[in-house]
Amino acid sequence: MAAHLKKRVYEEFTKVVQQQQEEIATKKLRLTKPSKSAALHIDLCKATSPADALQYLLQFARKPVEAESVEGVVRILLEHYYKENDPSVRLKIASLLGLLSKTAGFSPDCIMDDAINILQNEKSHQVLAQLLDTLLAIGTKLPENQAIQMRLVDVACKHLTDTSHGVRNKCLQLLGNLGSLEKSVTKDAEGLAARDVQKIIGDYFSDQDPRVRTAAIKAMLQLHERGLKLHQTIYNQACKLLSDDYEQVRSAAVQLIWVVSQLYPESIVPIPSSNEEIRLVDDAFGKICHMVSDGSWVVRVQAAKLLRKRTAHERAKELYSSGEFSSGRKWGDDAPKEEVDTGAVNLIESGACGAFVHGLEDEMYEVRIAAVEALCMLAQSSPSFAEKCLDFLVDMFNDEIEEVRLQSIHTMRKISNNITLREDQLDTVLAVLEDSSRDIREALHELLCCTNVSTKEGIHLALVELLKNLTKYPTDRDSIWKCLKFLGSRHPTLVLPLVPELLSTHPFFDTAEPDMDDPAYIAVLVLIFNAAKTCPTMPALFSDHTFRHYAYLRDSLSHLVPALRLPGRKLVSSAVSPSIISQEDPSQQFLQQSLERVYSLQHLDPQGAQELLEFTIRDLQRLGELQSELAGVADFSATYLRCQLLLIKALQEKLWNVAAPLYLKQSDLASAAAKQIMEETYKMEFMYSGVENKQVVIIHHMRLQAKALQLIVTARTTRGLDPLFGMCEKFLQEVDFFQRYFIADLPHLQDSFVDKLLDLMPRLMTSKPAEVVKILQTMLRQSAFLHLPLPEQIHKASATIIEPAGESDNPLRFTSGLVVALDVDATLEHVQDPQNTVKVQVLYPDGQAQMIHPKPADFRNPGPGRHRLITQVYLSHTAWTEACQVEVRLLLAYNSSARIPKCPWMEGGEVSPQVETSIEGTIPFSKPVKVYIMPKPARR
């Protein structure tokens, strides 16, 4: 009972104390940061067991450390290290040391001595390896300091004889990364004799542990990457490693061989088992070819990748010669030849025979893709090889894996300048047009755009197949038209004899006029008109309606139909085209002028300013519509001006004149304006590609003004002070952030809102909310309009949903509670990093909204600045009585803290990586498409 009483008394007592503390807290606005090192020290001293200490360290590692306090933390860690008996804790400390020494702005040379020191007394192999890793981090941080590098290399050499593979690995890594490049060692490092790093590393090529062998080769490659010339003797050593038992060793050795062969291409090496000698580069090539048929696919991929890097290609022919062996294509062909010349070249030894054939037929598609890429590289550099490999490439169009097919079509496109397709090859190529995969078909269209066809039959064949494709997959329409455009303009003379047949004209009789809306007919016309452009005799073959159709198509599909020089007709388009060119300059000028006009905003009365802004915005918008090249700039500046206009309008509101705070909803306009400005600034920041830092400052500044406006409006319309405290504090924090992020740009913001605000900052910090609001209000009115510098290249992100088209009247039926997949196909322009930013939104009629994150693999990149999203959206809903429309649209998700110049230690490191990638808000950037759906109740 007594105890119970005592507890209650105690409770009451603590309650009182808490209240007192609360009061104090409300007065304080200052945020203090506890010292990192001190906290860590306390934690570590508190730790009673190694597991405890490890926990503390792990927690500590989650938070970043500022550059200033790194050294202190390092000292604490080292101090604890000496005392610690448990290897796992020492390991963690060692790894922390490495991480800390990577901190930007911290020079780790001061901790190197300690690190080397503890290394010498360390017994645990794992900790040793970690310490060496730390040293590596330190060493790479100080690339100029020769003495330190020498010392580290020395340490590494000393530990190379360690029994643990981990330690040897790290030593070799250290040697590879820090081994001296220059033989001429600076004077201050006299005590340490320059070591022959290559020799030392080379000795470990025959280490008993495969992991160490791999590390040795990698270290050697590292030396090469750092610019050290490898000795030729390494070649022989590396060749031995090609027959190593372990795949990772072989894989690395192949790389090394390639590197050496590029260094000493012309030196001569003997062919084993004969008196002949060949150039090293040829020998290496043969060896790499041999590795294409290695037992491990990892090695095969590596070898196939290296094949493409080959520069000398004349020997590529020999890849297909199979010498004394028969090809096995004909029956009875494989009877052994009578005289077998024993001195014949060792084809298999040199490995060159059929390396590509092997690579292309490999079981693993990874190898096949690498081989196709290699083919592509070689073919691009050598026309004769391109011709040879054509058959093989065409064969790859029938691969069972789509990725490989796609890759080979792309490859073919890349080399198509060098080649002309034979009819039978074209036949095989065209057969792929029936592929059910859209990517394949479109890639093939692209390929046909730039293919050379040799005969008119070929053209006809291509046209027929493309039309077949069109009827089978009507969605390919645009792609096919484009393809025919190029096909026509490339082969005018081949199209000419086909024209009567294609247009089905008859020498004596008039034929029926074809349907102008038929996509197939349009396709034929696109082919013919583009051919006619460079073939003046062709229009003579046209019938009357063809000319009419020409005029129609020239207007409706001007990007596909060129201007033609038609007999008896004026070149209508020729008058237009020069005018476009001459207009370019004035429009640029016009843009500049209208933007300059806005400078005078400052000196105008509010009414005048509003008007000026209004018509400037109107001008800009119109300009953007007319000139597509300037659309980005015009839209961008118009949006900015609109923000300014909204701000001015909001400040003009009558409500400011009323002295007493208004608690009514009369300030709708002002708060709406604030909200809209915020939205517009987000659009400006995230919807345009090419926005530079100087624009970001202005945008953020505008947003800050909007926030200030919001604060004022809230202060005026809400009763009570409590929410205001929080808002004020938040706003001041924002100002603080702004100052920190853009400290470099502040000089450019003279006389601006933030400039004035920062002057008054100390006062604001201590003021009451009401006072803060008052100050803000006057400052908003007085602040100058900031001029927005225009970026070089700016494009507005846009998206068009191709599919679903939203035209269908047939609802998509599905059982409620189950899902239905909706194919979404959209093109995105000028979207940066679409994988992370683009989302799909589905709005149901009941207002329910669903956001879908497409997979990264759903985005394809067909050209610079262009992306294509092809994905499936899963819809589901409870039952409806009748079919209804859902809206599908694309959203651009943004997160302003991720965009800000990286300053991860900013908020005391509270930002976890998850927060950084999270979505702060979204901007819709495509027209919504309506899809008719009909969830039916499930039948029982």
Binding site: S206, S327, G328, I348, E363, Y365, D391, E434
Partner: protein, 600 residues
Amino acid sequence: MPEIRVTPLGAGQDVGRSCILVSIAGKNVMLDCGMHMGFNDDRRFPDFSYITQNGRLTDFLDCVIISHFHLDHCGALPYFSEMVGYDGPIYMTHPTQAICPILLEDYRKIAVDKKGEANFFTSQMIKDCMKKVVAVHLHQTVQVDDELEIKAYYAGHVLGAAMFQIKVGSESVVYTGDYNMTPDRHLGAAWIDKCRPNLLITESTYATTIRDSKRCRERDFLKKVHETVERGGKVLIPVFALGRAQELCILLETFWERMNLKVPIYFSTGLTEKANHYYKLFIPWTNQKIRKTFVQRNMFEFKHIKAFDRAFADNPGPMVVFATPGMLHAGQSLQIFRKWAGNEKNMVIMPGYCVQGTVGHKILSGQRKLEMEGRQVLEVKMQVEYMSFSAHADAKGIMQLVGQAEPESVLLVHGEAKKMEFLKQKIEQELRVSCYMPANGETVTLPTSPSIPVGISLGLLKREMAQGLLPEAKKPRLLHGTLIMKDSNFRLVSSEQALKELGLAEHQLRFTCRVHLHDTRKEQEMALRVYSHLKSVLKDHCVQHLPDGSVTVESILIQAAAPSEDPGTKVLLVSWTYQDEELGSFLTSLLKKGLPQAPS
């Protein structure tokens, strides 16, 4: 001298009835048990009487291994186990175990029902035989008995085909069966690790061929089929029910789907359905593509390919028919061939190897008039095409496999003698591996030097390690110890421990030697001089002058004595133990040279 003996009972310099006997470290293993397609008499089965004239086969063979389900590798199995009599274990992979009985039953039906052969194995015998089978997984090490172990590797070729490693102690043999180094539409490529066997027994069907791209063969095949069908002709593709047939089916199926063709494709008899069923089941044995996509669609569920009925052969209009067997030697394929051979619009495509003596072999060699049973003469007007789809490794593939496994020697089977000769030369020349190619009944004997594992006591190892530097990889080191052989295991222990274990007393072996020196001085003085001399020469040894006048260097004792007869000469007695032999002999030779003159 231990040795490995190999005797092919079949497939020695020949294709068909694969059957190879291997004796390794006292264990006898039979690899494959096949029949020959070319013969209908006794020659079709291997001559099992070679193994033993009287007495049971089970006593002579430790196990039988079947590499895959083709009849030339397993066709004689029921005859061997049930009629000749063998009760030991038979090893094969799971797919082989599943499919093998179907093929045997089919073979039995043709032989007994069609040809009316008597004294052939029965269905019940097939069942009994399959009961003796032990199925193995890939890469699973199976202990046949305490010493013999076998392990299967993927071989491609047909579903479930495997290469087998047979290992006793440190000696091993790898038998490849039939294998394929290039993947095809439904199977992957053979793979083996660097197991370094003593002997690699490999097939060599395509010993002289290096095949070109498989893709263009596929394309040619499709083109030929397509053209014939468009002309309105019929295409006959004789296949073995399993293996190539499935590959070609997948090929045609996808092509039909892509080109949207409506011409019917038939696959003969109900056998297929059963077989395809197994293909659907054993997805892990197929290639990367099928393995990865079977969740969406099992590639072996054909849409365009239907079962064949005998009446269909007379249907008008184009069609494609897969019919068994593959060499046109019997059965349905031969029947259809007879019906269609007269029309030049039709085509027969031979997708694989044909053994001499079969109809397939005859028409491929250009024979246009065939003598059939009953003295009929059949004129062949239809087109005959050969498309090598046979899934055997080509010369390069064989060399590649040899390179992968790194055997000490290679033995070629399952190929024609002339071609083998060529490949043998190539292998010996380029891979520097000895190569054999025995004929049937001929025995190859390979001496081996098996390594014998010896256990070493940790104490001894550590002691030796402490003395020298760290052991360097791949370099021999000298070590002193005692080898104890006990209960057929070997141990290396220190000599003290060996003595203790064996309960023996240690004997000391000492060498003594007299060295005569001319010296007139006293013995004491003499000893002193010897001491100072040795001290100056042997700087890093412990040289001591004992109070009794003798000198010791390590454990070597030197005493000076004066023989009574001649005062002018002194005798030095040198004595050392066996362990210090080296130092002792050095000392005597040193002392024999005499002492340096005192600096007096």
